[in-house]
């Protein structure tokens, strides 16, 4: 089946079997391997992408369900050579250890900040409740997303490197 998906702002087309999962469309067909496949059972959130701006688990959607829609992956966060505030914040607050859950965590953080510019710890924990960090680095992940909110608000300058 012929499908057309706007991936990170670029229109992409592919001829796919209906049974191709969205996570495999993104990783294998489009070559965007920043989206990770973890548990394979809708539990861990490593495969999270944004579908029309909303976090979804790409292991539990077919690629054909994304036809005509917009998908944002971790590769789409940085724009024009500039890291997204969420990426800057994860770096500055040490929001990652092994990095496997990080793409999903950052995309959830990005979507959260779009609708809540100043989330509390509880708001962030609720938002990431479908994303598992097996390094158990949750404290720094929560700090990073809240730090990203402050960077976005201009309340703090990201450290220059």
């Amino acid at each position: 089946m012929q499908i057309s998906v706007k991936v990170n702002g670029t229109e992409r087309t592919a001829d796919v079997e209906p049974r191709l999962l969205l996570v495999h469309l993104v990783r294998d067909t489009f070559g965007l391997t920043g989206t990770h496949e973890g548990c394979d059972t809708t539990s861990c959130g490593a495969c999270t992408v944004l579908l029309d701006g909303t976090p979804v688990k790409s292991c539990t959607l077919f690629g054909v369900q994304a036809d005509g829609r917009e998908v944002t992956t971790v590769e789409g966060l940085a724009a024009g050579g500039e890291l997204d505030p969420v990426q800057v914040a994860f770096k500055e607050e040490h929001g990652l250890q092994c990095g496997f859950c990080t793409p999903g965590m950052m995309l959830v953080g990005k979507a959260l900040l779009e609708r809540n510019a100043d989330p509390s710890d509880d708001d962030v924990r609720w938002a990431i409740s479908g994303n598992i960090c097996r390094c158990t680095g949750y404290v720094n992940i929560v700090n990073a997303i809240r730090h990203a909110a402050r960077i976005k608000a201009g309340a703090t300058e990201p450290a220059t490197v």
Partner: protein, 276 residues
């Protein structure tokens, strides 16, 4: 794991979906797919044709209608949980929806899918059973029928839906003035309920209590309701929570454990429902 091959059609109307279902006994509806897709990946389900209704925007709504609240089958759990109409008129429905899966799951999964899947460990069927909700089922040639939740959830993964019918709407009574509680006991935030309890009380209507994951379908706690009607206090009535149930045993807990848990949760749910 990868599902077996299938054909895929995106329906442009409910009528077209029903027509496609009528022409193929191995066809299945997919909306959010968050119950169906895991089954297909395990090859426990192998539909030959998937009819995608997820773009039928006129099946996604929450509105007051004829003294009830009508919820379109395609309404996502996230939108059920955040519906101001439900939060005001039937808050137990919005609250239970907020406990389904996790945020990303709630963005995709639908209330209709949750009902049509008829998993006895699901939260929403139990709430609908306690409420005495009705489900609207559309069939070929424009036929439409209403089924009570008690009749709709027939057995394990067995909704009262023919292979060429589509669940289109869930109708819940307003619970204004009634206290309510939904308690879901689970080990982690996104898990299924080991046991869940929906309770409604007050406003001159007899208390209603229903159980999640205590048998092959959602069950009314008839013994508890009978005891309460006879004047028993919640703690005494709750001792009858497991009457007529057949809870499963799994890695999370034995049937015996679930029986005990149901009594504790029913007591707590009744106390909460009667206090608000």
């Amino acid at each position: 794991m990868i599902p077996a091959p299938f054909d895929y059609v995106r329906a442009e109307s409910v009528d077209q979906a029903i027509e496609l279902l009528s022409g193929n006994d191995d066809a299945k509806i997919i909306a959010g797919g968050h119950s169906l897709l895991p089954l297909m990946r395990l090859r426990l389900a192998r539909p030959a044709l998937l009819v995608d209704i997820s773009r039928l925007a006129d099946l996604a709504y929450v509105r007051e209608d004829d003294g009830q609240v009508a919820i379109g089958a395609l309404t996502r759990h996230h939108d059920v949980a955040n519906s101001e109409a439900l939060q005001e008129l039937a808050p137990i429905v919005a609250y239970a929806a907020s406990l389904i899966g996790d945020p990303a799951v709630r963005h995709v999964g639908t209330i209709g899918g949750s009902c049509a899947h008829a998993d006895p460990a699901s939260d929403m069927p139990t709430v609908l059973l306690a409420l005495g909700a009705e489900l609207v089922v559309l069939g070929p040639k424009g036929t439409s029928r209403r089924v009570t939740a008690a009749d709709f959830f027939k057995g394990l993964f067995q909704p009262d839906l023919a292979s060429n019918e589509v669940l289109s709407e869930i109708r819940v009574p307003k619970t204004t003035g009634r206290g309510w509680s939904y308690l879901k006991f689970h080990r982690r935030a996104q898990d299924w309920a080991m046991v869940g309890v929906a309770a409604l009380a007050g406003n001159g209507i007899g208390p209603a209590v229903a159980l999640t994951n205590m048998g092959e379908r959602p069950l009314r706690a008839a013994g508890v309701e009978e005891a309460l009607a006879g004047g028993a206090d919640p703690a005494t009535a709750a001792e009858r929570a497991d009457e007529g149930t057949s809870p499963p045993s799994d890695t999370f807990g034995s049937a015996e454990y679930r029986r005990e848990l149901s009594k504790v949760l029913v007591r707590r749910a009744l106390e909460e429902a009667m206090s608000r």
